[in-house]
Amino acid sequence: MAEDAARKPIVVFRGVSKFFGEVAAASDISLEVAAGEFLSFLGPSGCGKTTALRMIAGFEQPSEGDVFLDGVRVNDIPAYRRPVNMVFQSYALFPHLNVWRNVAYGLLQRSPRPSRADIDRSVARVLDLVQLNGFETRRTWEMSGGQQQRVALARALINEPKVLLLDEPLAALDRKLRREMQIELQNLQRRVGITFILVTHDQEEALSMSDRVCIMRQGRIVQIGKPTDLYDRPASRYVADFVGKSNFFPGTVGEVAADSAQVTVASGVSLPVNRFGENMQLAKGDSVVLAVRPEQILLTRSAESLPQDSVVRVESRVLNRIFLGEHTEYLLSSEGLGEFAALAPRQSELVESPFETGEIVTAGFRAEAAQALAAD
């Protein structure tokens, strides 16, 4: 959906900053969210995700910059007049109202008020959408966490908002239920076609659900892009580390060619690198880190079975083996690369028996597996 550039943006941040006293919860954020997109804000605790969301909802006003909703500058428009709805982390269901009244709340505020029959029909429709028919007269505090979560969703969706804001909506659920709700949320978003903006600090959640992920750090956006792009082409060590796992090998730039550079890793291994972080200009003598995903590192007992184009082949000792189900993670140590991790798919173990702790194996990867990033 993100690639549909012709689609007009529904939410726009233009140079938005938000200060709480000394703390800059948002610094100079510029961002466009396309209509119908599923975007996630991802980042560690305190990086300003909630603050960004609350500025869209209207609970916080930007200290600097402008927020636009569907082309309208909303800086001074109060929350109750913005065509967006929010699903709160604690759900914030009204304890003194039953499920029907909670879900109908938004419609009941409209003037003129829709007819009772219309409201009934809408409530039935959204409760159907979240599979809660028959729960109309329940008290919300008598329901399970997952059910409350659905009521909160229904209560927001019934208003057909232009944007649905979700602040860690799944954080309170247990793992299995969270996984189910993630899939449900994604399906729901496709069906209703509403723009979803999700806040999470769970990278798996962000990567699996969103069209685009916006990675934040200390109030700034450090990278925004499709999950696969963020994973394959992290712009910085921070992103490479935050999205998935990565090995980082410090190195020095040697000869620089047009689209590749020779990088010598600390302990002498030298390899050609042709992928660089965003806008990175390499000069001879620069310090960089090479990021290599563990699953890009192949392990074998017979060095000749490594692909021909493997630029790095090092003898390594297996330090540790962690069985992860479909993968096995190995921690290795080598003369050339120091300590690093490699992820071997389960399938390979049927071909070659699992490596034992202490065994010497050959590890290798192709030039494309390594990406040069600024050493920060």
Partner: protein, 276 residues
């Protein structure tokens, strides 16, 4: 230790138990048990002076409850918006107000009323001549003094409930298009309802059973506690015990109801009232 505790309870409740027990005495003298009877209750309820005092107390109690609850709730809502040192100062003043002894409130309000009336009466006379209304002690002064000392109680109860109110509920309401007034009506007020009702019951009770303050500022109409006090001077009769038992029963019932309301039943983060 256990005996000590038991002794304390006997000491606390024996006099009260005696009043209740002897209110059922068939005999003519309070402490001279002649057998069980409820005749003194009938006598009490047939006594026109006792009935008039009861009515006075009910009127004073109801007005006090209505005024103290509505004014106190508004004050609590207003205080919620304050912050910094004005907030701390007003909080402190409220706690102090609750601890001021009844005698002090009685004397202070008496002096205030007398001073105000002495200033106002000549002025009114000048304005209306002989037809001028003469301000004096009466039911309004009792109600005024009672409202005064109940306000702090109400503010404290409503405030603690307000502080326990989940902010995100208010935001959720605004997010769902409710105007600030709509949010107040549909979320804040219903969430405060138990605290407001409890405040009403408590201020009624405190007014209904108050003797000291009413003693200072009441006019010709005496409240029930004052009536009891004046009839004791003619000797403690089982009838007085009966009236006292009725006051006790009413007060206890209302206090228990208020306590029940202030309990948190919904599992929401409502705070308990720390009064009563």
């Amino acid at each position: 230790m256990r005996w000590y505790a038991a002794a304390i309870y006997v000491f606390l409740y024996l006099p009260i138990a005696l009043i209740v027990i002897f209110s059922f005495n068939a005999g003519k003298y309070a402490m001279d048990w002649q057998g069980f009877s409820v005749e003194w209750y009938f006598k009490a309820f047939a006594n026109p002076f006792a009935l008039k005092a009861l009515r006075t107390s009910l009127v004073v109690g109801l007005w006090t409850a209505v005024l103290a609850t509505s004014l106190g709730t508004l004050a609590a809502l207003g205080l919620e918006r304050m912050s910094g040192w004005p907030r701390r100062a007003s909080d402190g003043l409220i706690y102090i107000a609750i601890m001021v002894p009844g005698v002090v409130i009685g004397i202070a309000t008496l002096i205030a009323f007398v001073t105000a009336f002495n200033l106002a009466n000549p002025f009114l006379e000048g304005l209306f001549g002989d037809a001028a209304p003469r301000l004096a002690m009466g039911l309004p002064t009792v109600i005024g003094a009672h409202v005064l000392f109940n306000l702090a109680v109400v503010i404290l109860i409503v405030r603690s409930r307000l502080a326990g109110l989940d902010r995100s509920l208010i935001e959720a309401s605004e997010d769902l298009y409710a105007t600030p007034l709509g949010t107040f009506r549909q979320v804040v007020l219903p969430m405060l309802a138990p605290a407001i009702l409890a405040s009403f019951l408590l201020s009624f009770t405190f007014s209904f059973e108050d003797f000291i303050i009413a003693f200072f500022v009441s006019g010709p109409d005496s409240t029930l506690p004052i009536y009891i006090f004046s009839s004791i001077r003619r000797g403690i009769t089982p009838e007085v015990n009966a009236i006292g038992s009725v006051v006790l029963a009413v007060s206890l019932t209302l206090l228990i109801m208020a306590q029940f309301l202030l309990r948190d039943r919904t599992g929401s983060r409502g705070a308990r009232g720390d009064q009563a």
